[in-house]
Symmetry: C2
Subunit: 736 residues, 2 copies
């Protein structure tokens, strides 16, 4: 039943809470207590305080290694302490490149020197500060290159296939790519794989500028000078400090030579504004870019190479700096060695009001409210750990080094890791371990959306129903018993916990009505945030409630709320996707080979354009997915059996210690020996894509082998994943 | 079997012809003669002459009613005569508005006076001529209006639904719409239906400018000053002279008062360049236009209405002018009262090298080659009629008045009408009566593509296979026994023949590698054509051969090559489409009503944007398509029976007169009493769409009633169409 909007806020909030009497994993008596605790918790949260903290922490630039970052860490430390948490700084010593020389010039047929500078604006109080990091991509190589320019669209593997058809290669050239469609680090990596000697990335106004909306400061969208900074570390190999893969970057850790660090780029790469990109793109000649490569600048985009040449010179300070994670604990009264963890980074590229402080200040308000609860005499059964990470922006550095440093301890103690990052006005969105889906459904029904006064669960579901493309999709949503958690790729601090350690993980945020172009620019400021992101800071409170209730319930549950029946059905869906993908590739390959043989591609092409017909590919063999299906059958049986055991246990008053231990350690059964060519990523179900970056690949070992047409590896990976699923099934079947 | 490209042109041409020994509708002996005739015909065609004629006829502006148009008609007349055809001018007296006053000004918040002028270019020899028609839309109302400006995207019904959701109406406002996505005349008509007082149409550079390709004169695409002239007559009611619907506009014809002519627009409408549009669009404020409304200008597009106001003043000379059709005949030796007709218009908006002269000069070369054949002693069995139409651009005026003037005679005598219009480099494309599909397949296999040296049939099929979206679609194409002829809507001179008189019709052209932005501008010139459209004029020859062979075979066939089995399967496909459309609308309506009731649209909307949720619609009833299915069953039986009769007759030497008469008159069985609210359109299978213009609607009476949710009318129309199909079935069953 949907609520109507005619009821007032208070009436609805009461109605939402009144609905709930039981909680998954709590006895009825404890549920009543827990709901009272949550009411007290909610009452302690404060939107104005969230706004004040946001203003305070975003008042100056605070990138990793800067005095500002240390100052922010110390401010956060002091806040945790003042709230009553047991907090300390946890420093790591990490490599961090900052720019020393940045030159980009068009050298022919005309000349232009790129500004590489975002101007201060009267409407944005912090935009003129002097200690901002300049516009750059961290982990670019040092380099001084001159060469012909080639426009490569978004710079993805498909784009290079198109270039090959057009008879163009980028060997010895400097490429210019649009931001978007992948994580930025993929673009220079793929350019390098194709022989480019330099890479420029720019924000096209069709994607991130005037075509998206009114530009800053009139509106929220990227003005002609705005630049997206960001890391291009090859994070899909391993994240964190490039010199200490797999181990914590403590002072005395054994370190790689910088030249041996595989995640540092081999060519220079620089992000620029569309103001700086236009003269470069306008100078290109040669082949006109395909219709769907044309962007929003008022020119005809060409591919080149031709008369347009550029000079790109970049030098960096390769400094060792301190990353200051802030760790704050509330010791568990019954299970001090079971940790319920919460994290959000505090470092920014510049002032970072949206990214990451909007999530950080919501998290701090949770800590404040928990501190207030402590004062009432409440104590959590399990230890609660709040983590404010440093160095997320350059490559998840603070969280990765902490996780690597504490790997054994975390695999033993961490019940769950709950992440957030930027937050804004709009709809609830959650990702993470499928076994937590019923848990998150229950929680999101307890949080009222600030604008519509229905639960954030109901509002999200309404949006999904309205925006689903077809009646079939809408009916599928209506038929769902639980809302799915999105599978996680990369792009925030959950990565080490989930993909390296197998800790059950959640990633939570609100957004979708907070669009803009401030991301990683000097304009990600308090002035921007309060105008365009969450003017009342009420969505900060909504995040505090959502994550806070999750922390409280996990910390106090009698029986931990994991349900593996959702994992089974979700993996089955992935297997169906892969079966269909392989069948489709087989059909497409057979058909394409047939058309190639009949000369149809040559006949269909414009002979004046000298396009090359594709080359015939090897036919796609049948893969044997049966091992996965067998493993999933046993997982289904075990998950159903466990659910029965769990339900029976929930009715009893005996100790659940052993069952709880089994439940929160289960995800580790899905860890293997690591993905091919990137063993740091051990989770067999989720990983960031080798050619997508942040974007997830589910069943990554199998899926990427199929996408790369490596059929032998695909079959091997089917065996490996099936073995992990079977192992999880056997493990769950142990539950008594 | 596809040909390889290693063989030379001559070898291939010989191979193509050598393959064919039999021709549909010819005895073996006559087929041998016919193939020889076609070889002689082909040898008489000349690409250089096509180029010379193109240059000669495009040397000066020649719009309807101008001295140039009369001069072009007289030149064409002289050519037909010199070729040996019996030619005359056929004049009609028709209304034709030309501009007297054109003023468009931005009056607030800043001022700008639109240039409304395409500049002369050194690279384009005819671009500076003084007697060009200014940029305008014929059949705009006279008007002098000032009002707030509203941007309406493409100005289609869906766009007004989006505006309604945004809470915006255009009553009393002046709208500005992009060209594209519909025939231009739909935009002011829909604007008027919604209460607008004026309409501006502009070419957006994302669709027709620098984003499409290099602009003129550097490339073929529309430069910032280019303007698309064109008619906005409400041609979907009836085409031709607005004052003489249904009758020929002879000197003494009974005429409507201009104010009673329903096809003349009620509001002023003016086309402009993107140079003139930018200041207007940049002045708009208010709501930012939806993402998919944003165009290619370097601004954020807003919807308005707000501060931006414009003044639009238009006055026209409402002159009665002479339209000069040129009619040229070769009398049939056996069946002089069976007419095989060919047509292409000769009037242009300005110089019209591409539109229409590229088709006109190919047609003239056919006439020349037929004249040469006459000199060898060849005589066609049936009368051949070549028609060079005047006044197509303002609204198919010359062809419509001729067809209305000769309606009875044409319905008695016209065996087929074969149309062309603009032509260029690329792929064969054919539309028309489905019963002619095997006929056109056979012909297109006899014409060699100038660039690839395979038949134009094979090249087109290769393109279709390569460009089909899915393996399923490709397999369907491979499984086809005949290539479909596209169903015809409007936009050229075939309309009266097919949709008003039921004459079997074909519309032929080459293109797809001749892109550009010259359409209806001063830059549609010989200089533009020889650079970008068909530099060698070989595709002119390809059109001459394709249409010429069709004319020759129709004129000389022993048994006319109609096969109604293709019509049956095609209509069955349309019925399936409509059944699925209705089912989909029913499902969508039920689902949307359910989401409306649950308040999901309100919950999913951004509350700060004040968007309106849609209103519930009446549920979609079940339509009874059974009458159509029954009728199609009998058509299938009759078409199969006729095919058997036809095949038997082809083996006999008796007279086929009666069967031939039945065959070419059959299409008239599909004429009804006219479509609802537009009785001029009598064909029950094809019509231009009421809200698409040129775009066809198949089974238009039923389909448009469904689209308008008029279920009663849809059911009535099912009955009417079923009755026409049954009638055709009964008619065909008469064949002996």
């Amino acid at each position: 039943m949907k609520k109507t909007l005619t009821l007032g806020l208070i009436a609805i909030a009461a109605a939402v809470n009144a609905q709930q009497k039981t909680i998954i994993g709590f006895t009825d008596a404890n549920a009543t207590k827990e709901l009272q605790t949550e009411q007290t918790f909610d009452a302690a949260l404060s939107a104005p305080r969230i706004g004040e903290n946001l203003k305070e922490l975003s008042a100056f630039p605070h990138n990793l290694g800067s005095p500002g970052s240390k100052a922010v860490a110390e401010k956060i430390l002091a806040k945790y302490k003042s709230y009553g948490l047991d907090a300390h700084l946890q420093p790591y010593t990490v490599l961090f490149p900052s720019p020393k020389t940045r030159v980009l010039e068009l050298t022919g047929p005309t000349t232009y020197t790129a500004l590489l500078k975002e101007p201060a604006l009267a409407e944005d109080a912090t935009s003129g500060q002097s200690d901002q990091l300049p516009t750059y991509n961290a982990w670019s190589a040092d380099g001084d290159v001159t060469g012909q320019l080639v426009f490569v669209n978004y710079g993805l593997p498909d784009d290079y296939e198109t270039l090959a058809k057009l008879g163009i290669d980028v060997k010895g050239k400097i490429v210019i790519a649009k931001y978007g469609r992948s994580w930025r680090g993929i673009k220079p990596k793929v350019a390098y794989e194709h022989g480019a000697i330099g890479c420029i990335i720019y924000s096209d106004p069709a994607d991130d500028g005037y075509s998206a909306g009114e530009v800053y400061p009139k509106g929220a969208y990227k003005n002609e000078y705005g630049v997206q900074r960001g890391s291009v570390m090859d994070m899909v190999i391993y994240p964190g400090d490039p010199l200490t893969p797999g181990v914590g970057a403590t002072k005395d850790a054994k370190r790689l030579d910088r030249k041996d660090a595989t995640t540092i780029l081999k060519i220079p790469v620089l992000p620029i504004s569309y103001h700086d990109a236009q003269p470069l793109l306008a100078a290109l000649d040669g082949i006109v870019a395909p219709r769907d490569w044309q962007g929003g600048l008022p020119i005809t985009y060409h591919v080149g190479p031709g008369v347009a040449t550029v000079h790109l010179k970049l030098e960096f300070n390769w400094d060792m700096v301190q990353a200051y994670d802030v760790i704050a604990k509330i010791k568990g009264s019954e299970f001090p060695d079971e940790w319920v963890m919460r994290g959000n980074h505090h470092d920014a590229w510049v002032n970072g009001a949206g990214d990451p402080l909007s999530g950080q200040v919501a998290m701090l308000d949770e800590a404040k409210a928990l501190g207030d609860l402590l004062k009432t005499g409440w104590k959590p059964k399990r230890t609660i750990v709040y983590c404010s990470w440093d160095g997320e922006e350059p490559g998840l550095v603070g969280s990765t080094e902490y996780a690597e440093d504490h790997d054994k301890e975390l695999q033993q103690k961490a019940v769950v890791y709950i992440n957030s990052d930027g937050n804004g006005r709009g709809f609830y969105g959650g990702g993470g371990s499928q076994a937590l889906e019923p848990f998150m459904d229950e929680i999101t029904k307890t949080v009222t959306d600030p604008q519509t006064n229905v639960s954030v669960f109901d509002r999200k579901r309404a949006s999904e129903l309205v925006n689903a493309g077809s009646v079939k999709d809408k009916k599928e949503i209506m038929a769902r018993k639980v809302e799915p958690l999105e599978p996680l790729g990369s792009g925030s601090d959950f990565s080490s916990f989930l993909q390296h350690l197998g800790v059950p993980t959640l990633d939570l945020a609100f957004g979708g009505e907070d669009g803009g172009g401030e991301y990683h620019s000097i304009y990600d400021s308090f002035d921007d945030y309060r105008r365009f992101k969450d003017p009342t800071f009420e969505y900060g409170v909504a995040l505090s409630k959502t994550a806070g209730h999750a922390i409280l319930r996990m910390a106090d549950a009698d029986l931990l709320p994991f349900d593996f029946r959702n994992l089974d059905t979700t993996i089955s869906k992935y297997v169906t996707e892969l079966t269909e993908l392989t069948d489709k590739m087989r059909d497409n390959t057979t058909m394409e080979n047939q058309l190639i043989k009949a000369n149809d591609f040559t006949l269909a092409a414009d002979p004046t354009k000298h396009e090359k017909a594709p080359e015939a590919k090897a036919e796609v063999p049948k893969l044997d997915f049966a091992p996965l299906k067998t493993a999933l059958d046993s997982l289904k049986k075990a998950a159903n059996g466990l659910a029965t055991t769990w339900a029976a246990a929930a009715q009893s008053n005996t100790s659940h210690d052993k069952l709880n231990q089994l439940l929160y350690h289960a995800e580790q059964q899905l860890l293997g020996d690591g993905l091919p060519r990137r063993p740091w990523y051990r989770h067999t179900i989720y990983a960031p894509g080798f050619y997508t970056g942040y974007g997830v690949k589910t069943l990554p070992g199998i899926r990427e082998a199929i996408e790369q047409r490596n059929w032998t590896e695909a079959q091997e990976q089917i065996g490996i994943v099936a073995e992990r699923i079977s192992s999880l099934a056997a493990y769950l079947a142990e539950a008594r």
